[in-house]
């Protein structure tokens, strides 16, 4: 009998530490499926962030290194430059990428490093139990914005895709959701395209995924998925922000 569904080879059998309803599990699986489908597992090297996905090396069945908080794009630069025929991606959350690691992501993008960035935006510091993130929405309550994020006091959220879209070095930027099966498949297509671009030496890609954090948002998983679609998208609209190699354009 031919199996119609199985665990991707690119995932290990380890049990993750993620909370029920967390988006990381879906995103890990999508990456693993893409890597399996492209047949690149044995030449993929990833960087794990500091944040909820800090133990990513236990879940991915390929070479993974730890990084200091936010430094993934710099570490990935070092790896990719010395091993240009390997496939290198960073896996980063919003605190890692858009706060402490802002310089690293902007400059890796500006250099047009031929790497893929998977950016998981859940509008909160998850691992440290729910502080304000650089992507926390105006009005959103967190453990460090107990009265809600007030832009006049805490500043505004950072829109990473929009910010990076101004940089010449960037090839492909897309923001997606994982709230419905259709959007999960759309996210998978975006991840796959980003990896294909890297294989074809087309340069820097980043896929930003709006991902639920029911634990820290104090919601049920289904409420949280709904919140990504109904509330987060108002500040972070999904879509393709840049595609240098879109058919018909170049």
């Amino acid at each position: 009998m031919k199996p119609v569904y199985k665990k991707p080879e690119s995932l290990t059998d380890n049990i993750t530490i993620y909370c029920p309803g967390c988006g990381h599990g879906i995103i890990h699986r999508l990456i693993a499926e893409v890597i399996d489908e492209l047949g690149i597992r044995e030449k993929t090297i990833a960087t794990a962030p500091v944040g909820c996905a800090v133990l990513a090396y236990d879940y991915f069945n390929f070479d993974v290194t730890e990084t200091a908080h936010g430094r993934g794009p710099a570490v990935a630069t070092g790896i990719k430059r010395v091993l240009p025929d390997r496939i290198v991606f960073t896996y980063q959350g919003d605190g890692d990428l858009a706060a402490i690691g802002t310089a690293e992501i902007v400059h890796a993008a500006a250099r047009g490093e031929n790497i893929t960035v998977i950016f998981v935006n859940n509008a909160v510091y998850g691992m440290t139990k729910g502080q304000m993130a650089p992507t926390t929405l105006p009005g959103q309550t967190t453990t460090t914005t107990p009265y809600g994020r007030d832009p006049s006091y805490h500043g505004y959220p950072i829109r990473v895709c929009e910010l990076l879209s101004t940089l010449e070095g960037v090839s492909y930027l897309e923001r997606t959701l994982i709230d419905t099966p259709a959007n999960i498949l759309k996210t998978k297509r975006a991840i796959k395209k980003a990896f294909i671009y890297q294989i074809e030496n087309k340069g820097f890609s980043l896929i930003e995924i709006l991902s639920p954090c029911p634990t820290n948002w104090k919601m049920t998983p289904s409420q949280a998925f709904k919140w990504t679609a109904e509330v987060m998208t108002k500040i972070f609209p999904p879509g393709i922000y840049k595609d240098k190699y879109k058919k018909g354009e170049k």
Partner: protein, 351 residues
């Protein structure tokens, strides 16, 4: 003419260190401009491509050391260089290199501090270099050259030590060595270095490798730290390096390192001409510090003069080595001050 064919070169300390790295098989350099070592990234930006290596001018010192982390994780001999304020910024990365047991070479052309300080030669980063420097319980090997030839030799050696012990190695020089030009004799260029089994190269034909310094399960980090400690004890047994001058017959021992030792040797020469019996002891490895070697000398002599270009940092190690109550004197020039041989000789005469 092809540089590879030339056995002897006239180089400044930055260039000599860079050539030492290249001859040791270094294929990756990332750095950031900071005086007095700007010649280093400039020189590497030309030499790395010539050698089939990678040069990256990073957006920050932090990024540079993390690029080195990535290249080292991928199994390549990798380095960065900077000067004191930049080295402070790199400490996070150095701690991760130490925790992850990744080999890398970091050159510090020490300038005056604290803060932005100045851009003149100093030895003010002795504590930072020899006591770990970043967060956590760790050591780095610290090599202290005293001239341009030696920064070539010690940079060359640093890569071997880094690989042998899977440890970051600091070469602690200063703005003087960075900028003076002297002849340098080259060593044999290393080619076809052995593959590193632990490196991240893609898991073809093997189980996936991971590199980490995070050990959350109770007791596992403690076990990891004890493993690091065993490595540090082995380095202390095998890698101590020092030199003595006129130490067979002396009434006073001068202890100094790097540029300051070189100037101190001139002062010792002046003293010897005047029939004053002074010797010089020069640690070459600042960690591991040559405690035993110095201890033996301290037993023979009643008086030690420590000379440093700082407020007195290595003197703490001299005190640890001094088990027989030799009297210890100190002469230091902080804030980028460089003593003359005559100044040091005056201090010798006072004792």
């Amino acid at each position: 003419m092809d540089k590879k064919e030339i056995k002897k070169l006239l180089l400044n300390g930055c260039e000599a260190s860079a050539e030492g790295a290249i001859d040791a098989g270094c294929k990756f350099y990332a750095g950031y401009p900071i005086t007095p070592q700007n010649r280093f990234p400039e020189y590497m930006s030309r030499r790395m491509p010539e050698e089939g290596g990678i040069f990256i001018q990073a957006e920050s010192e932090i990024s540079a050391i993390n690029m080195v982390f990535g290249a080292a994780a991928a199994g390549v001999r990798a380095m960065t260089s900077s000067s004191s304020p930049g080295i402070s910024l790199k400490q996070e990365g150095i701690s991760y290199l130490a925790g992850c047991e990744l080999p890398a070479v970091i050159i510090n052309m020490n300038r005056g501090g604290p803060g932005l300080g100045d851009v003149t030669p100093s030895q003010s980063d002795y504590f930072q270099s020899t006591r770990g420097g970043g967060h956590g319980d760790y050591r780095t090997i610290v090599l202290a050259p005293w001239n341009v030839q030696e920064i070539y030799d010690l940079t060359y050696l640093a890569f071997d030590l880094a690989d042998r012990y899977r440890i970051p190695v600091i070469v602690l020089a200063d703005g003087m060595i960075a900028q003076i030009m002297e002849p340098v004799k080259r060593k044999k260029k290393k080619e076809n270095l052995p593959q590193k089994k632990w490196a991240l190269t893609g898991c073809k034909g093997r189980k996936p490798n991971s590199i980490k310094s995070l050990f959350l399960k109770p007791g596992v980090l403690e076990t990891h730290n004890w493993k690091l400690a065993r490595k540090y004890r082995k380095i202390e047994e095998k890698e101590v390096r020092s030199e003595c001058y006129f130490c067979d017959d002396m009434d006073l021992l001068v202890v100094s390192f790097g540029t300051c030792a070189r100037i101190s040797l001139e002062a010792v020469n002046i003293a010897r001409e005047k029939k004053i019996k002074v010797g010089l002891f020069r640690p070459i490895t600042l960690w591991p510090f040559p405690y035993e070697e110095l201890s033996k000398l301290a037993e023979k002599v009643g008086k030690i003069l420590v000379v440093e270009m700082n407020l007195g940092q290595m003197i703490e190690d001299v005190k640890i080595a001094n088990k027989n109550n030799a009297r210890i004197f100190f002469y230091g020039r902080p804030g980028g001050g460089v003593p003359t041989p005559e100044e040091i000789f005056k201090e010798i005469k006072k004792i």
